[in-house]
């Protein structure tokens, strides 16, 4: 079966099983011979959920228990964040951390140790995980948590599925007062201002900036920074229709060129007239603006795209971001909008991406000329002591990975100790030399 990640690059023809039950998962684990990799809703961008044998857990999507006192939900790995919101927001519970799409599974959120707009105050998804039931083989499931098999827990959180298949996990939901967000949008006219805004608003629980990656000169790094917090009240209103727009076919890739993107960015930027604008909105458009466009990954044409997300440490700060952004602007290949965010403290998980500093994510349509640019960017990012997000990656080299994820050897040791080496592997792990 031909499958790919969300970026639709690369595409592989491989064997995929879809277990529906725990015993079905056992059958799949028994049939591993040359290495298997778990996959959820296929929302990682590159090749991290592709491999010689793929075990897709999307139909293992059952809730197991929920404690209405503590907010602890124990569910199967295939439950999506969307389902959790659907079921628990009416009762006043919310996800402690959510990425920019709600169409990811709990298993995937753990394997990527995803982050969201509240990273600077709440950390990553796995910082709210109570325990994980990790299947290494049929009949061999290990429970791990920060106190029980902590090394395995640290390796599994952000471990890209390379320690085993997550059968189920318990996460702590957080109580919220309403389903509305009080949002303030600030306009900044250049990169320095954009970065200063994050510091200025670090007390705000949610913050993210949409940054222009086409304009240079005086306007380099101009952005709209959005901060938000759960509104103190507000009736849980009925949501609008789910997917208003659907992109059913690949759009011709010529539709997105530097002129159309520039026009879009200018319009987007001037949407906000004053210095700042306040409004109260439902959590969906605040957290998941792109989820309302089904299949937006088709926008970049049939060859697919890659999302380039890097982080540079706080010490590297402005000069690093300026130099990298200049390189991107000069290439003229940047996407519509890029996302800029200030990360808080790093956690103890071995391969988790966020480190305290600044992260930028932007899309590039796949074309031959792209790869040399990305290699140049890699060198710059590494030079500043930064690194790339494995969940978005489809092409970094093993050397780049090893240099920027120094805990990789400890990660391998944990895999070795639990017999996961060779047994769980993806196209990405092979490329990164994790075998």
């Amino acid at each position: 079966m031909r499958i790919s990640g969300w970026g639709r690059y690369p595409v592989v023809d491989t064997r995929v099983d879809y277990p529906k039950t725990s015993s079905g998962l056992d059958d799949a684990l028994r049939s591993i011979n040359d290495g298997a990799i778990a996959r959820g809703l296929g929302r990682s961008y590159g090749d991290s959920s592709l491999g010689g044998y793929v075990i897709c857990t999307r139909w293992m999507d059952h809730m197991l228990t929920f404690d209405r006192e503590t907010g602890i939900l124990h569910c199967e790995a295939g439950v999506s964040l969307s389902e959790i919101l659907e079921v628990f927001t009416p009762e006043g519970w919310f996800l402690p951390v959510t990425p920019g799409t709600r169409f990811v599974t709990v298993g995937g959120a753990i394997a990527s140790d995803v982050h969201g707009k509240n990273h600077h105050v709440a950390g990553c998804f796995c910082d709210h995980v109570e325990f994980i039931e990790l299947a290494l083989d049929a009949g061999k499931t290990i429970r791990c948590s920060p106190v029980e098999n902590p090394e395995l827990f640290r390796a599994t959180c952000g471990g890209m599925g390379l320690t085993g298949v997550i059968r189920s996990a318990a996460i702590r939901l957080k109580p919220v007062r309403s389903l509305f967000i009080d949002q303030t949008t600030f306009k900044s006219s250049n990169l320095r201002e954009s970065m200063e805004l994050f510091t200025l608003h670090e007390a705000s629980p949610y913050s993210v900036a949409w940054i222009d990656c086409i304009s240079g000169g005086e306007s380099l790094g101009r952005s709209l920074l959005m901060t938000g917090d759960h509104a103190p009240e507000g009736e849980p209103e009925k949501r609008g229709r789910k997917s208003r727009l659907e992109i059913p076919v690949d759009l011709p890739s010529a539709l997105l060129n530097r002129h159309s993107i520039k026009a879009f960015n200018t319009l987007y930027y001037h949407r906000i007239r004053g210095r700042s604008v306040e409004r109260r909105l439902h959590y969906e458009p605040f957290f998941y603006p792109l989820d309302s466009i089904g299949g937006w990954n088709r926008m970049y044409g049939a060859n697919g795209f890659t999302q380039y997300q890097f982080v540079v440490p706080k010490e590297a700060g402005y000069p690093a971001m300026e130099a990298i952004l200049k390189e991107i602007v000069a290439s003229g290949r940047g996407s519509f909008l890029a996302v800029l965010k200030a990360f808080g403290k790093q956690n103890a998980n071995l391969l988790s991406f966020p480190v305290e500093g600044y992260t930028l994510a932007l899309d590039f349509r796949i074309e031959k000329e792209l790869f040399p640019l990305l290699d140049r960017l890699d060198a710059m990012v590494l030079g500043y002591g930064g690194r790339l997000y494995l969940t978005k990656d489809a092409r970094m080299s093993a050397a780049t990975f090893r240099q920027s994820y120094p805990a990789w050897e400890r990660f391998q040791a944990v895999r070795e100790a639990h017999g996961a080496m060779g047994r769980f592997s993806s196209q990405q792990s092979k490329r990164l030399g994790l075998d």
Binding site: K20, T21, C56, H62, M63, L64
Partner: protein, 246 residues
């Protein structure tokens, strides 16, 4: 609070429908083959807000067990407000062509057993004088196509049977809904090479089903555009239709 019986509760559409009923606080009684799946699904529905969930293992192909299985469910629930008949297999058409016994087995699972169940359910609901019987048939029953005419023939039998039964039950205050889903993204279609744009999510189909039950609709095509797709297919002249490989 509604009492809901689901036969074939492990099917993707049935499960998604049960989740909506659970969120409404219904009492559910689930029937399916696998005990393991029943217990997982029951646990899930409880977390989602079902007032009570009971279940019983049941194999639709054991026709002799039908009456006692239904009697047990009725005894357990008292009144049945809604029964959803949702089981079925999407057989291997090529295999059916080579082995007639396989074709008959498909007919047994998707038509004969359903007719047996519906006959018994009809009597129960008729005595009760209220409630809804919702039956999952298929757009495949609207016209025999080379790609799946064995499955289609079974579903055509169910659709026609339901049409007659609806008229009989209507006079007794019982509502019968025939559900004709198009292609649905489910474990049943996983791995098949189907156009993604035409694959409906089970929860979308489930939402349509719950709404159609509420409105006491007779026939539901879901998603809605299948009504028009099938209208086109039904009206193609045979001379042309036989040349196509749909």
């Amino acid at each position: 609070m509604q009492n809901i019986l689901i036969i074939g509760a492990a099917s993707a559409i049935a499960e998604a429908t049960a989740r909506i009923f659970a969120a409404q606080g219904s009492n559910l009684f689930l029937m399916a083959r696998s005990e393991e799946r029943l217990s997982t699904i029951a646990g899930d529905l409880k977390v989602r807000g079902a007032t009570s969930v009971r279940s019983a293992a049941f194999d639709a192909n054991e026709i002799d067990s039908h009456q006692s299985a239904l009697d047990d469910a009725c005894a357990s629930m008292g009144r049945i407000d809604i029964v959803l008949v949702a089981y079925g297999t999407l057989g291997d058409q090529k295999k059916c062509e080579q082995e007639p016994t396989e074709a008959l087995r498909e007919m047994q699972t998707n038509a004969m057993s359903t007719i047996s169940l519906l006959s018994r359910l009809a009597n129960i609901m008729e005595r009760q004088g209220s409630g809804t019987i919702a039956v999952i048939s298929s757009v495949a029953g609207d016209r025999g196509r080379p790609a799946n005419y064995v499955y289609g023939a079974a579903k055509a039998a169910v659709t026609t049977f339901c049409e007659g039964l609806r008229s009989r039950l209507y006079k007794k205050g019982v509502h019968l809904l025939t559900i004709k889903p198009g292609m649905v993204d489910s474990p049943m279609t996983e791995g098949m090479d189907l156009p993604a744009a035409l694959l409906a999510k089970p929860e979308q189909v489930a939402g349509d089903i719950v709404e159609a039950i509420r409105r006491r609709q007779d026939v539901l095509y879901t998603p809605w555009y299948w009504r028009f797709v099938m209208m086109g297919i039904i009206h193609l002249p045979v001379k042309l239709f036989k040349r196509l490989s749909l």
